[in-house]
Assembly symmetry: D2
Homo-oligomer: 383 residues x 4
């Protein structure tokens, strides 16, 4: 069987999730090609060599340019911080490597467009890491919408609530630095909501945003040291340069109204992504912390029997679920990466378009930019 | 319009709930007769006169025999402790007064049968206070079963979990004295589960019970001082003579299997009555603390859309709901009494049989007795 | 005991809820005065006379001016449509009658201010019908906030989701006519969210609104025929002149961010009012369809034990709950009216200020107006 | 690093789960030894060779005796049907291979004891596959109990509800044949509940059981063809020789009361394992389909703040959770196997006792046997 060799850039949280996905595609899915865990890349040679061993890679690199130039690499997987996406992707495209890139695709829509055009011009497969599209329950939501079960959609409302920086003593990690991360809650988590909105309802026309940084100074740390930094020297404070919360109202091209909220200041909410869709024929609700479940309301049920039905998307009829365990034996967060990587492998193997692709990543960035602009200028902005 | 005058015996918790029901039937339901709040009865003249004023009664009595003899009383409502039910009911029947009696109907099946036969012989209407039959969501459960939506029923499992005596310092109130209350968790709360089981599935054939008194001695108090006694002289302890918890397995005549558990030792559970029914075509779940909701699973839904549907039984199509508020505007505990009293008024007004009647009260007592015997003798007992 | 005689204007949905509240205050609360159900008023003499009988009023009137002039009326309770509030209230104030008025207080802030000033000038007690302030679980939310358990509040997000007009065949009832109702979802249900926001967090500084009328023409009916009109002549259509949905983002004076959404187009949502508050020390969540429950997250719980705690606000320690039933025996929608009317009686009896008063009604209208204006002009509007 | 080589017997559902566990221990845990996926064994050479490739094994065997004799195998993992456990385990012990064996350990307590004694005599590590002990939320339950947070335990009630054979057309697979499976719902799923009961509360003293086979004849199939057999020749029916449902009441040595129910006839319940524990200081609730969550009620919370707290056991403070993803990023069913295998590796590597071991497997079988006997003879049976 064909083997497609991966060059994975980044070995922290996302690097761990992606390398697991590579392995699990091979073990649980009948994909058209196998994924070879060829090389993993990071600047710290000692750390990345350990990661290579732990994650099951054959080799490692400390310079992503070297990695991209390797003949034995078929695709590049970019999980580095946002400020590096463009440069890596452009070189990978130039070298005709397929590209999988984490979200948000780029620091802004301009960069994203450049990446998309380069990828298209190179004729490579390209996919962006909107992993929530691959939750079986969300696939089911999509199916119900496509079948007309929801009818004309009037409302989409979505929340992404976290609390990991609610403590003012939490340090100034790279995700709080605009130069590295691009933005805060907006690009990190609103990006997911926006992509799901596009996946399920289509394009957004205009937005009115509201953003805020609640804690403006935080203790300095080695910025690349991740979310769980310790040993902070609390005598030195630096500026938080990204949004802690980003909310916006939206009008979809379809006429539906949207409400979005992303925050890192919702005490008690860990990975509280949720959305609700209301249409003329029914409604849908989803909550990520119970990601195996979808709530569906059907206006056409007999009037004395109407109600939100809690569907466990763990049946063989549900996308991807049949590759795992029997009904009711739930899957978790990491499985979304396995599913997206399975689809990417399929696209690479048969030359079909991947989805969501860089075009989708670009469209998301356009909306993110519009929200930023709208919040800054206090006015509605057309996407 | 015809007025049916009530003589209510008891003015504490149940007295308050029943007198409210009388008034609310008149204001919210189009019943065939109105209820007259004629007299309320209790031994303590001062307390009962205050209750009469508060609850809206025209007069009061301090001797239930006097009350029953009054010509202006059409029906007697018995909310006194269990050890008085029989005597009161027999005299009321002799005087041809209709009778509403709280559950459990009597101290044992023998007494209950005597009451039932006396009531039938007198030609009066008689009803027992199994108020949970009148929860709209439970009526909906009954409807779904009657329509065949659940199919052949395999399982009934029910819990009634409370925690009001989990504190060993809680005093020895009358409900913990076998001579007054008849039994503990068994008669007080298993009685409700048993009645619902009979209402929804039919008769029980045999049982295997398990009972326990976890705290065997408690501080003495004036026993009639209700659930919230204070100022206890903790130097004097008396024996708890009833069961704190009563569990049993059951076989229904239909072939279904039953599991019942009633306890007053479930920390955090206040009025935690719940049940689940599993059949060949579907399932039903109910929880009293969310009493407006019924969960219904339909095996015949399309396979990718199956799930428990949370039906809010607040639609006009749901029994009694149309008499109250618009959909989604929930009702509460007290409404169950309004509904049962509405049905009792209808039965008195047109001479039809009330339901659940003393026969149902008797059948429940037979099962309660069987559970007591089974637990005491550690063997299966036929009902 | 002092009796304060009520003159109730309106006998439909709210008339029924208020008259029930009058009676239940008398029967369940130890108020400083009793409420006399003196007169109920409506234009249709036959209908209102029936209502008087059903609801327990001594008399009825067909002209509200006559009612207000009666010497035996101590307070006027206005549940008529919004376009009549001002005129009735001004005359009642002139006649020194205390006033309870349903929400929204008036058609706009200008009218509301006039009513407030007139009431103050007359020295009467005045209260506006924001009944949700009197849900025990919401009182508990207020208590937790006041005790500092939530800390600095960062977020308030609230939804009021209904679906009663999602069917395009639903007729053009008065609530869909701007001249009578003032506005649609905004004044009818956003008003509740706004009042709760003010109650729990304080004033709002500026808003960005988004409104839409999804179904612009509907079958004509007799407009006063309420929510459940039938026998519609579908050949005649009229214009819906109010908003079907009204969303807005907000900045509070405190610095918190707000997100509000009110819609009548959320299939499956009946009375889906809910809110969440996130602060530096914890969070609170509430859902009206489970109105006895409050969810509370405490950041200071031991780290391995943190979670949202589902508190059943049915304990004696919870406001109003002790007047009803034992813990776990839930109350419903109508009880909120009993509680607000109890507080109004107390204020009338001892001459203290009622709360929420017409000032609160006016402040709410200012925000409603700002949302309307913002939505119409597509710009942020200062309140 | 030391490598412990696995010989896995069985390649269906459990084979897949175990082989995944081997790999994931290596990739996500810092275990004292790595697991080598040395050989997988099944009778059908073609099928098992494919499984070896898919699951990542170096080699395969078609005769388990050959496998056990291999010098390059350090431990044997038995996932074959119950009727083979004893023979395999005895030979493995004789060859001094460590043994991991799926539950129930054996066909009955006699066999289980023989296995336990053989394993002990051989000085090998032995563990039985009660994977639910390794759910982080259940570990948290154990911790709360051990810390005294629950106090004296009064009640344990547990359900294991499934519906995979509710359709009478579902074929006669091997799990429905007593000769192969040993028993039905009792050994398959009550076994899990019993082990959890022992883990959390200690030993059971006596039981009263009730069992039933609702559908007594089913279409014949190739019995080893698993749960999802198709192409059934419906003209041939065979006898179901195991219980469809198995319920029992129990008394624990500690004095607590237990209620257990296992059934395969609960429509809508897929893997509906749940339990509740009530003690003098608090309560605990768990539901497997939301396996990341634990509900905890603390009697010592301030009285106005008491409630069941929903703890997401995904924090670094929760056992195993720190090896996976950030808080709120849930894990699934398969992770329980990774955790149990991690513990087994640790025990093999440092020679400590594994837990739960064959002694625990034997104790569970004793209780299973007692339940079977009690149900058959309709009497209480001492364990």
């Amino acid at each position: 069987m064909q083997v497609l060799n991966a060059g994975l850039i980044g070995y922290k949280f996302m690097g761990r999730a992606h390398s697991n996905a590579f392995r699990q595609v091979n073990h649980f899915f009948d994909s058209k090609a196998k994924i070879g865990l060829k090389s993993i890349c990071g600047r710290d040679g000692e750390a990345v060599s350990k990661a290579a061993l732990k994650f099951g890679f054959e080799s490692y690199d400390t310079d992503w340019k070297t990695l991209i130039k390797r003949d034995d690499i078929d695709f590049v997987d970019i999980t580095a911080p946002g400020n590096m996406h463009r440069e890596i992707a452009l070189m990978a495209a130039a070298k005709k490597k397929h590209i999988f890139c984490e979200k948000p695709l780029a620091m802004n829509a301009r960069e994203a467009k450049e990446m998309w055009i380069a990828a298209e011009a190179a004729g490579i497969r390209h996919q962006v890491g909107f992993n929530y599209r691959f939750v079986p329950a969300i696939r089911l939501a999509k199916r119900l919408i496509d079948e007309g079960k929801i009818g004309t959609i009037y409302h989409f409302r979505a929340l992404y609530l976290q609390d990991w920086i609610v403590d003012p003593a939490f340090p100034l990690v790279w995700r709080l630095d605009k130069k590295i991360a691009g933005s805060g809650a907006n690009g990190d988590i609103n990006a997911h909501l926006i992509d799901l909105a596009r996946y399920l309802l289509g394009d957004i026309e205009r937005v009115s945003g509201l953003q805020k940084t609640f804690i403006k100074k935080r203790p300095m740390v080695d910025m690349m040291d991740g979310l769980r930094a310790t040993g902070v020297d609390s005598s030195t404070y630096g500026d938080v340069t990204v949004d802690d919360a980003s909310l916006f109202l939206a009008e979809f091209k379809s006429g539906a109204l949207g409400s979005f909220e992303a925050t890192r200041f919702a005490s008690g909410r860990k990975n509280g992504m949720s959305f609700e869709i209301n249409g003329s024929n029914g409604s849908i609700r989803f909550e990520f912390e119970r990601m195996n479940e979808l709530l569906y309301y059907n206006n056409e049920d007999p009037s004395y029997q109407r109600g939100f039905k809690l569907i466990s998307a763990t049946e063989p009829e549900h996308d991807y679920a049949g590759n795992w365990w029997p009904p009711g034996h739930i899957i978790g967060y990491e499985h979304t990466f396995v599913h997206e990587m399975f689809e990417f492998v399929q696209a690479m193997a048969d030359g079909s378009n991947a989805s969501p692709d860089f075009k989708d990543g670009y469209e998301c960035c356009r909306i993110l930019d519009a929200v930023d602009k709208s919040a800054a200028e206090r006015e509605w902005v057309n996407v």
